[in-house]
Amino acid sequence: MKPTNLQGPDYYHKVVDCQYACPAHTPVPEYIRLIAEQRYTEAYMINWESNVFPGVLGRVCDRPCEPACRRGRVEEEPVAICRLKRVAADNKGDIQALLPAVAKKNGKKIVLIGAGPASLTVARDLLPLGYSIDIYDDQSAAGGMMRSQIPDFRLPEVVLNEEVNYILNMGAVTHFNSYVSSLQEVLDKPYDAVFIGTGAPKGRDLPALPGRQDGNENIHVGIDWLSSVAFEHTSRIGKRVIVLGGGNTAMDCCRTARRLGGDDVKVVVRSPFADMKASPWEKEDAMHEDIPIHDNHVPKEFVVEDGKLKGMIFEKVEAVYDKAGKRSLLPTGEDPVFMECDDVLVAIGQENTFPWIERDLGIDFNKWDMPAVDEQTFQTSLPRVFIGGDAAFGPENVITAVAQGHQVAISIDQFCRGEKVTERPAPNFEIASQKMGMHEWLYGNDVVDSQRFIVPLVDKKKALKNHKVEVELGFDIATGLKEAERCLNCDMQTVFSTSLCIECDACVDICPTDCITFAEDGEEKDLRTRLSAPATNQTQDLLVSKTLPTKRLMIKDENVCLHCGLCAERCPTAAWDMQKFFYSESQVGRTCKK
């Protein structure tokens, strides 16, 4: 095998699994260490710089970091990264003075259509550079789906307002309650660039299902219903509620219904329980609130009698997978199931829709009748129009919208300065030795055994009485510290110097997780089978040294390295060193311009 290429940030970035998995590449281990030192404000700011909404995301993030967390591969559960982010947000001090200064206006005017997470991220990145920003939204306040679709009991309004206002207070000009009905009209105004961040606002319905029209009064599209609850147009629902769908919106719908008068709320989903799109913890939270989930039931009919919705009929199916793993839901042949209800919430997906974009503006539309968007630059075929967030590639999540917002800001800045949008600033990274003494490190390298701590919840009765009462109480300071200790510090890289190694085997002998091997050269596939412990996780790289004096190679499997530093402590020649790798994703205005 060739020695690992350690030029640039790529190799070590991938070792930091959580950060690598995060769409915005938040430096997770760094902020967790700051929490462990009770430096909450700094921990918050590290988050704020990369993901813009730490308080929001600390509650409602989809947490792609947690399944990636290395701890989940050495024991049962990953670090509660998301909830630690909330600890930073809950305990931070005043951050006003730490926010970026807003430069003198640079004369460029940008319009953002939609005031959701993607637009707000673009605004946050561009406002400090002197751009003038207009924001249009059809809602009465900024936040997009974070405000309209995520219920208060998961994300209190005060938390959202705080983080939205940090951005708006930088001088964005807002136009709320203003639905943009024509892109042409916007383009006619003297904007240097237009950003479309209108999300995926159209909830899927079941228009063809028998009884849909007749029962219309008691059949609601999930996201519209959630939105009307959020803006206080709706405050009640029937006693018996069926929620159709298995995603996170369905979970929000059923839990909201429980709080608005629904005593008998059930979720009915076509797919098997395990295939449901909702995050496992959201399913748990729903079931904790006494909401049963009926899987493998396909809706067949809304039963309406005398103009009044009585219930729904479902067909029972089972999932069958073919050789390619493709699923089909086949009827079991059992009798149809009738379920009584007063209201139905349809939460079976949502999609983008652009009736307001004229088709003759020079924006190419693809075969799905969606605007064609460049995946790197988010530019459309009309150079001054950019699309990001759910509006670009369909429904994802808040953190993805934020990550895309940062990229859009780079593109818009390049575009407005007359540079190529394909020329992107490089990410920043530093790597620095943590050696403090003979066997001492600048980071706490003890690996604690504690299991993942559970976030306490508010009393269920109290929670179900009021949909504004936040269910999760968050970690208290003491538990937050203990949970923070569980982080393995994967950004503390094991850096190997071939020239210093005397091949004494001390690192091989001490490594608790058998990561290190000195072996004869070979192809990667073959090498992976003859290491101290077989390296079967192909998603994890091997660190390969140059050829050593005995013609062997040092090979380290990154998979379950605890970053405990014992290899470096037991190395007599400091051929191993623990070095902190800090990576921050490229952002506009952060890097020196050529």
Partner: protein, 350 residues
Amino acid sequence: MSYIKPSFRHPDLPSNDLGYTKKDYEGVLSTLCAGCGHDSISSAILQSCFEMSIEPHKIAKISGIGCSSKTPTYFLGNSHGFNSVHGRMPSVATGANLANRELTYIGVSGDGDTASIGMGQFAHVVRRNLNMVYIVMNNGCYGLTKGQDSATADIGSKSKAGSVNIYEPIDLASLALELGASFVGRSFSGDKHQLIPLIKAAISHPGFALIDVVSPCVTFNNNAGSTKAYDYVRDHLDATSTVDFVPMKKEIVTSYQDGSSKEVTMHDGSVIHLQKLAEGWDPLDRESALNALHTARNKGEILTGLLYMDAESQGLHDMIETVNKPLNSLAEKELCPGNQALQNINESFR
């Protein structure tokens, strides 16, 4: 500095026949100098016992004094251990072994503990063919007292401070052969491929098994000019053979080249497979082993591998015809069989 090893292990660690993983054979974190060869030997002992599926409570580790003799703390934490007096490990091991013949005895000693203060005890335990593995962690210096030349330091070897050793060294392998040892091997701490099968063969051997392991002292004897430094040893290694140990229970599946290979079947049915490298040497011939050692030494080489084995060896218990049952388990009824038994014995002498 870390004093506690993290408790997590690789999730795919293999288990042995007893269902144990390597973790069950570990000791506490070593406090020896970083890079000490002794830690590698500890690791090889641990790996051997794991692979042979020996129950940890059926092993006794016995040592004397010195860096080497500290090591039993760092492996086999679930086994019996006795850290004895300087140079007196053999007599303690003899006593323990006589009292309970059912344990596997692993004696760990150093060049000082064996070739200097313990020379007398060493000679006698070899003579008696006590059933034990005797590992010498040989670094040619007194590491615990800052690196003075030991009795195994080669003549002409230069110390870290620059002084050259003027005394003849004691070659423990040759000495053991002269004293009638029934199993003699030599290895290098940096070569586990050779060391582990040697230890396993030594454990299976019924009788006294010496393994003299060159183990560089990184702190005091790893300098240029030292003949026990990592670089020097690697440059001057010469192996009698490659060693492969096949335990009795396992089928031999590897196919070996004919001609230069030799299989030695041990007392318990295990097989040592040797891919021979040294010429004119036969592992079952004491004289050829002595010759090979002399030849290598004259060439300035360090001969490693299995040097000699007596396939017919009988341990001390068989030589003195003790009962099969461990002596420590004999109760009063067996030890004092009564007046009639005494009369019978007396009668037999008349």
